[in-house]
């Protein structure tokens, strides 16, 4: 149950976060392609959550790939946020 809840919570929260950022495009903000990669990663985490119920080990590998894809966006964003402090 732990991997399921963890992947599900992370997938939902990060997906919603990136979705809100993508919605800023309505106001004219440019869309960063890495946001789309991150959104795909969130989807991967949701798939991994349900897969973990049947095959935890394979789901963990999928979750790792999805998480690494999401770091493509969160990594530079985090670095940028830290340097601005």
């Amino acid at each position: 149950m732990i991997p399921f809840l963890l992947y599900l919570a992370a997938g939902v929260v990060t997906g919603f976060h990136v979705y809100t950022l993508l919605m800023l495009a309505v106001l004219g903000a440019p869309v960063n392609p890495l946001e789309l990669v991150s959104l795909l990663g969130s989807l991967g985490l949701l798939v991994a959550a349900y897969w973990s119920v049947f095959n935890p080990h394979a789901a963990a590998r999928l979750a790792l790939v999805a998480a690494l894809a999401m770091w493509c966006f969160y990594g530079p964003a985090l670095a940028h946020a830290i340097t601005r402090l």
Partner: protein, 201 residues
Amino acid sequence: MILPYLATALLVLVTAYSAVASFRQPRKSSAPTWIFPNGTKRSVQVGAGICTLALLLGVALWLTIDARHSIRRSSRFFIPEGYVGWVRIEFQVNGAPALPVEGGEYLFKVPPSGLLRTSSPEEFGWAKDHFFYYSEKGTRILQETGPGGGGLIWGKINGEESGSQGKRKYEEFFVGTEQQFRQQAMGDQTVGSGAPQTPAK
């Protein structure tokens, strides 16, 4: 503002957990733990089903609430015939008249100055608005199109500014041809002969 921090924290947790779970070599004799489960129990499947149901219900509720807030009453804007320039509508102005409603639509009768003040609050959400030139002879519709479509309504913006009377919400849009709109956007104030004076922004 907590969302980015929560997302990052969860992502760190997932990365660490999935990396350990992916590359860990469990001993054959060791029993699966609750942190790293090996098989599937019936209770886990039921729990996953309940979580999914709760998630779907939450999303449905969110979409329903969001849809209710995203619709507003349509508006009809009546602008003096021949007016070219910015129109500004200021909302929640003390002492100003409320907006009349006709046929379920708000009526905005813009004076020749281009500045209309009302005590009514501004509504947000999706709606189809209509624009008209009015004169003693009657009204004629003003088309609102995209670039190159020959429309006469451009640059709609909503904003809020602070002043001596507190915060004030306003809406602005430009009435004129696309070329006139672009000219004034570049700082050229000659928006056409005989145009009434545009309101101070």
